[in-house]
């Protein structure tokens, strides 16, 4: 049984079908990319998986949980984390504080221990910091630990955004264009981070990315969306040859 399965999901806004009967399956530990022209419905699909939107029809299942009507924080609790395309961090807080905040779902001590910083509160905070430090080490953010996110260059903020998702300790990581607007060198670093996240942490990854070179290079499987429909699916080399994909990308000439 696949870890994540999206079955015939249709998402309608008024008269516009953002997704029509989209089905997608992701195995545990897989790196699956979703590509497609602008407005194809890629981000809408991620929004459905992470609970921001609820599909009009169809079903989404993650492990034993039904996500079809789940709220974002329920999805998070099930082990799904997401890095946003338009960096969603607190720019007035430091990198460390942003990451610690991300771990708040894992904190479950009461008001009194919190006020006294004693017992469970102290232990939980120490554990949270340890986890966050591991993520900082993993994403090589040591030099920026105490810097305000708002003061960091764009490429680093993107890395913090991924780190924030990673700090949740997810089983499934949704990455929405983590490399958009980066320099070549920053892209190479990010690719290495993504591959390492999967190799070292065994995290399943669903990636939306426009850089086809990167997608073809690192994905196990690729889904191609166009006008809210899956037009092709399979290993990158097969998908790259698919006439429908060429048509969607290059136009009728192919």
């Amino acid at each position: 049984m696949a870890q994540l399965s999206v079955e015939n999901v249709t998402l309608v806004f008024g008269g516009l079908a953002a997704l029509s009967a989209v089905s997608l399956e992701v195995e545990k530990g897989e790196l699956v990319s979703i590509i497609g022209p602008n407005g194809a419905g890629k981000t809408s699909l991620l929004n459905c998986i992470s609970g921001f939107y609820h599909p009009t029809r169809g079903r989404i299942r993650f492990e034993d949980h039904d996500l079809t009507r789940a709220s974002p924080h329920t999805a998070t609790r099930y082990g799904i984390a997401r890095a946003f395309q338009n960096i969603e961090l607190f720019s007035g807080l430091s990198v460390l504080e942003n990451l610690l905040l991300a771990r708040y779902t894992h904190l479950n001590y009461g008001l009194l221990p919190a006020a006294l910083y004693y017992g469970r509160a102290q232990n939980a905070e120490i554990e949270a910091r340890r986890q966050v430090e591991e993520v900082i080490d993993f994403m090589e953010l040591e030099p920026y630990r105490k810097e305000l996110v708002g003061n960091l260059p764009y490429g680093v903020r993107k890395r913090v955004e991924v780190a924030r998702a990673l700090a949740l300790g997810p089983k499934l990581l949704l990455l929405d264009e983590p490399m958009a607007g980066m320099t070549l060198e920053e892209k190479e670093d990010m690719v290495r981070f993504i591959l390492d996240i999967r190799a070292e942490r065994g995290t399943t990854i669903v990636l939306i990315e426009h850089d086809l070179g990167v997608v073809m290079d690192i994905s196990d499987r690729v889904y191609v969306l166009d006008f809210g429909e899956v037009i092709a699916e399979g290993p990158p080399e097969e998908v790259a040859q698919d006439p429908r994909v060429l048509e969607a990308y290059v136009g009728g000439a192919a």
Binding site: I136, F138, E188, L195
Partner: protein, 650 residues
């Protein structure tokens, strides 16, 4: 517990023997610290030795023979010194390779030194070794420290992790409990301990063979001049492949017994410096210049009132520094003013930098501008010049406290004899002089001719025994009219300008002097921003007419200090920064003059021609190996000849 203090008695031991002694006598004292996951982890001398011993057993299990070479390709991590001392303990030789080296450089060094084992820090370094694997058949095992991303390499038995070697070692120790210590006890102080690669401004690098005695003598002798406490702290953040860091971390560390701290990452070194607050530092000039220009940039971005206070108080600092560097006590009024300046500015400033506990700081490897020198003394950092070559374990001369001068490199440390040859070359003799170059008897004979270390530097001694270094003997040049000059001397004067990052002066057998200049992207970038001058790339910035005017003024200022025939007449602002990756600089940041001359031959000719614009085709290499060519035009800038003072003195 009696703590061992530096003494010449230590010269009867090898470095790992000295570590064992410390582990036995003062095992619970902190020897090393490393920041990991945001926390400073401490390791005592007992831990330090135990790891070295276990790693040594691991190497024994892997068949490491006496006299074999162990290469280390890593940033500053405790494993660097563990591996170094374990290899030395087994009668082997350690050697450091700069982690920034490119694969062909690494291939050359590993092949030339016959390295049998390599410690590589992480996947990045391992990948470099994989790329050159067919060129380094003598390397039997590659040990990696950081297992991250190494999963895919597990099947290849060329690789194993540092932890695995330790586990092998613990197993081996159960079966052969005395094996390491027997080999350790057999070590002699005159054995070769470490290869330090000379920076190689000319030709391929050579490995200077340093003995245990060399490193221990240097450590003891320097601490006789500048004593340190065993409770002191030191931050090891410059490459350990560099002799300066090697002498501080290993030579000074093991003889002095202070705690050596390793930063979290290379990029966090300055933040870690602040947290550690070391008692001693040794850095090349670029580090000091970098710190000063960072302060300068921040202050110039501050409010006008802050700037005003800063400048007033710094003036007080400068006046007091002039007294103190001569070892004199400033007048009472100045002392009071300084106390106030210290309280208001210098102390908080030093605290911000991590210099609050600094007893002394050293600079060496190249010349440091007088302005930078005075600045650090003004804020109360006892910065001193040291001088020495890799071949004399890094240091042989140092300023004494209260006798610091910009133009000298100080006096010999105890046990060092100095002489100036007839050609004006600086010769030294001491127990820190290396045993020669590995596999280069020809070069060794030249180096150690007549029992003296030939520095290759031209210099002289002042009447009161200070050594003055002029330049490399071979770098002294003559203009077409026979005027002698040292390009480096003039380059350094140019580089003292905050706006000039790098300079290369030409003029050998030419009618006049010219220069290539690199503007400093930080300071000039800030300067341009302040004036609302928009620029895109470094290339664009360097070719702005306004920038040219700024630099012209800087060059004119330097020209005023030079005799007429040695003034810079024309210069170009290079469209790219000289870079070690393009072979234009050595890994230690020295200009490869000949290479630069050949690479930019068109520009050099233009400097001596009639044209004032040269079309160039710049090729930029990216990290992925792709190239991009940019066509542009470089302007040649003329300096109006400085009018001779006429009539005024008549």
């Amino acid at each position: 517990m009696k703590v061992m203090r530096p003494s010449y008695e230590m010269k009867q031991y090898t470095l790992p023997q000295l570590l064992k002694l410390r582990a036995e006598r003062e095992g619970e004292r902190v020897a090393l610290r490393e920041k990991d996951f945001g926390i400073w982890n401490e390791y005592t001398y007992a831990d330090y030795y135990a790891t070295v011993r276990d790693f040594g057993h691991g190497l024994l299990a892997l068949g490491f023979e006496p006299g074999e070479k162990f290469a280390i390709l890593a940033d500053n991590i405790p494993e660097w010194v563990y591996a170094e001392l374990a290899a030395q303990g087994l009668g082997g030789v350690s050697l450091g390779v700069y982690p920034s080296s490119v694969p062909p450089e690494i291939a050359y060094v590993l092949d030339y030194t016959d390295a049998a084992f390599v410690l590589a820090e992480d996947q990045e370094q391992v990948d470099k070794l994989l790329e050159i694997r067919d060129q380094i058949p003598k390397v039997r095992k590659v040990i990696y420290e950081d297992p991250r991303g190494m999963r895919g390499y597990r099947a290849d038995d060329w690789f194993l992790s540092f932890q695995e070697v330790l586990e092998l070692g613990r197993e081996h120790r159960k079966r052969h409990p005395r094996a390491f210590e027997e080999r350790l006890a057999a070590g002699k102080p005159d054995d070769v301990a470490h290869f330090s690669l000379t920076s190689g401004t000319t030709g391929k690098p050579k490995a200077a063979m340093l003995s245990h005695k060399n490193l221990i003598h240097m450590g003891v002798a320097l601490q006789e001049v500048d004593p340190l406490e065993p409770t002191d702290d030191y931050l090891s953040f410059l490459p350990l492949a560099w002799i300066g860091e090697q002498m501080m971390t290993v030579g000074m560390g093991l003889t002095g017994g202070f705690a050596v701290n390793f930063p979290e990452e290379v990029e966090t070194a300055m933040a870690d410096l602040k947290e550690i607050g070391p008692h001693v530092m040794f850095s090349p000039p670029r580090v000091w210049e970098g710190i000063q220009s960072r302060i300068w940039v921040q202050i110039s971005e501050s409010y006008r009132f802050n700037r005003w206070v800063y400048e007033k108080l710094l003036k007080v600092g400068y006046r007091a520094a002039d007294y103190r560097m001569r070892g004199e006590s400033p007048p009472v009024a100045l002392r009071l003013a300084y106390a106030l300046a210290h309280f208001l500015l210098f102390r908080p400033l030093k605290d911000r930098l991590g210099f609050l506990r600094l007893r002394r700081a050293y600079t060496g490897g190249a010349a440091l501008g007088p302005d930078v020198f005075r600045f650090f003394h003004a804020i109360g950092v006892n910065l001193k010049q040291i001088y020495g070559q890799t071949e004399i374990t890094g240091i042989a001369y140092v300023h004494r406290d209260g006798d610091v001068r910009y133009d000298t490199v100080g006096k010999p440390i105890p046990g060092t004899e100095v002489e100036i040859s007839e050609e004006g070359e600086i010769l030294s003799r001491s127990d820190a002089v290396c045993l020669g170059y590995y596999k280069r008897p020809d070069a060794t004979a030249e180096l150690l001719e007549g029992g003296w270390l030939h520095s290759g530097d031209a210099g002289y001694l002042t009447e009161d025994g200070h050594l003055v270094v002029i330049d490399r003997l071979s770098d002294v040049m003559h203009t077409a009219s026979g005027e002698m000059f040292s390009p480096q001397f003039i380059e350094n004067k140019l580089k003292f300008s905050p706006y000039i990052k790098e300079a290369v002066v030409f003029g050998n057998q030419r009618p006049y002097l010219t220069a290539f200049l690199n503007v400093d992207p930080q300071t000039v970038g800030k300067w341009a921003e302040d004036r609302g001058l928009a620029y895109t790339t470094y290339m664009d910035l360097s070719q702005k007419p306004e920038v040219a005017e700024l630099i012209k003024a800087e060059v004119a200022r330097v020209n005023e200090e030079l005799p007429e025939p040695l003034r810079i007449r024309r210069f170009v602002l290079l469209y790219k920064l000289l870079d070690a990756d393009d072979d234009e600089l050595t890994r230690t940041g020295k200009v490869r003059r000949k290479f630069v001359h050949e690479k930019y031959a068109d520009l050099v000719e233009a400097l001596y021609g009639q044209v004032d614009r040269v079309p160039v085709r710049a090729v930029f290499k990216y990290q992925d190996g792709s190239e991009q060519a940019v066509e542009t035009e470089v302007r040649i800038h003329d300096l109006a000849p400085v009018p001779e003072p006429v009539g005024e003195t008549r």
